[in-house]
């Protein structure tokens, strides 16, 4: 290693890094960023607005926190920054990867506000989705990538979870522990 590289390495280790043991509040904007690679609040708000049309007003009261590389949590309460506790609110969004991925729980909690990249499933498709099955849905002519899958319950559209749409196929990304074998409700 050249001296330059060693010096650069040292400088990098002086900079604040992400600590997987604690929750840190996201910086307001990219300009406020001190920890490399950490998403800012502004970017997170932009992402929900751009991807799903969920306006920033929906999240006005909520704070965003990172614990572990890229795992963002949403919290509606008072906490110290940083917080050394087991959980601060609920898991919300996976960042530090090319395509950010919302959690199924975040979509279930906030997805009703979405105006785009929402795929409405019929009763049979909805049951298959909840069971964790992938399915061909060639008639979707919207974006590829992460979609909010919904179905109708007693006259209203309700988010079920996150699907990944690629090549005419909707992949259910419902985590194993949350998969359910449900009767088809016509």
């Amino acid at each position: 290693m050249s001296d330059d590289a060693a010096a650069a390495g040292e400088a990098a280790s002086d900079a604040p890094t992400n600590d997987g043991q604690q929750f840190d509040r996201l910086p307001e904007t990219p300009a406020d960023r001190e920890v490399q690679g950490r998403a800012s609040r502004a970017e997170v708000l932009d992402w929900w607005a751009e991807r799903f049309g969920i306006g920033e007003g929906v999240f006005e009261e909520y704070g965003f926190w990172e614990k572990g590389a890229g795992k963002i949590w949403v919290f509606n309460g008072e906490a110290t920054d940083p917080s050394e506790v087991e959980a601060v609110g609920m898991t919300f969004l996976r960042t530090r990867q090319e395509h950010w991925k919302p959690t199924g729980r975040a979509v279930s909690r906030f997805g009703a506000h979405a105006t785009k990249n929402v795929i409405e499933l019929d009763p049979e498709q909805a049951s298959r989705f909840a069971a964790g099955d992938d399915q061909d849905i060639p008639e979707w002519d919207g974006d590829w990538g992460y979609l909010i899958a919904t179905h109708e319950v007693a006259g209203e559209s309700v988010p079920i979870g996150v699907g990944l749409y690629l090549y005419d196929e909707l992949r259910s990304v419902v985590p194993k522990g949350s998969r359910a074998d449900l009767p088809v409700v016509e």
Partner: protein, 314 residues
């Protein structure tokens, strides 16, 4: 020995008490207001042909005679949470409000934590603590499924809970839903009667005293602490209250619950307890066809007049 024998002297109708304890309980779910109203849950059950019966003293509870509380869409959407009927009582007594700071000292797996968050409209801060990490992961799973966002989870021994990891050092309200010998759950899990020992009663009573004392200390003057168990044992109920009344600055307050209850007892096996423990409530299985339960409400900074100044609308 069957521990229920010990309590025959406390109940008015021994045969009805024993008969109720022998009957099993139906599955019950609570509607999660953070995600859906009781009406929406009813509509969704109707649409998908899930049989349910109302519970006359609580609009948000549904008995599911066919069982399988997790096998339907309302559950998958986090609109319902499986919770025994009597288990909703402590939160009614606690009566938390949106924006408050609330400590759930023995919180896992989170049935009451999530009900508290719901009662607060998911606003304010709930600190859900338990000393058992495995049970906390069940709590986190439940809180996420129900879409709760106002809860911090901590893993401490509640007896010497430190508020250092928190943004404040006093709570408005605290719930101590204590570990106990659980005879009250015998209608769901008859094994608890076989596993019962007097040694365990005495050991767990020590923990209960420690946790309740800490909850009183961690709550602001004028704040509320609720103590609950699912045991009939006075050693774990009135004796714990008596101990904390004598050692901490607090008093028991009268309060209402929406079902038939019996007052706390002031004498047990040669011991006598402070007269005010009669303000605590015993819930016997034969009264309302439920599990067994115990619930007391305390005011911190004991100089109250013994009435519940807040006027709990149950």
């Amino acid at each position: 020995m069957n521990p229920l024998d010990r309590y025959e002297s406390l109940v008015d109708d021994v045969d009805a008490f024993r008969a109720a304890c022998d009957r099993s309980l139906p599955s019950v779910v609570r509607a999660n207001g953070v995600a859906a109203s009781p009406d929406r849950v009813r509509e969704a059950f109707d649409e998908s042909g899930v049989a349910y019966e109302p519970v006359d003293w609580h609009d948000g509870l549904f008995r599911l005679p066919d069982g399988n509380p997790g096998g339907n869409w309302p559950y998958v959407h986090g609109w319902t949470h499986g919770q025994e009927e009597v288990s909703v009582l402590p939160t009614l007594a606690l009566d938390p409000r949106p924006g408050e700071r609330v400590w759930d000292a023995c919180a896992a797996p989170g049935s009451k934590t999530t009900q508290i968050a719901d009662a607060m409209d998911d606003e304010g801060t709930v600190v859900a603590n338990d000393n058992n990490l495995g049970r906390l992961s069940a709590l986190r799973h439940n809180a996420e499924r129900l879409g709760i966002t106002n809860t911090i989870v901590t893993n401490q021994d509640a007896r010497n809970f430190s508020t250092k990891p928190l943004a404040f050092d006093e709570f408005d309200r605290a719930l101590v839903d204590a570990p106990c010998s659980c005879e009250g759950t015998c209608r769901k899990n008859p094994d608890v009667l076989d596993q019962w020992t007097l040694d365990h009663v005495h050991a767990v009573a020590g923990i209960q005293k420690g946790v309740l004392a800490r909850a009183v200390q961690a709550t602001r003057p004028g704040g509320t602490v609720v103590y609950s168990t699912c045991t009939f044992a006075p050693e774990e109920n009135e004796a714990v209250l008596d101990h904390v009344l004598a050692n901490e600055d607090c008093g028991l307050v009268a309060f209402d619950l929406p079902l038939d209850t019996d007052p706390g007892v002031t004498e047990w096996e040669g011991e006598t307890y402070d007269e005010s423990v009669t303000r605590a409530k015993r819930i016997y299985p034969h009264r309302n066809d439920t599990g067994g339960f115990f619930c007391a409400k305390l005011r911190v900074g004991g100089e109250g007049d013994g009435s519940d100044g807040e006027g709990v609308a149950a």
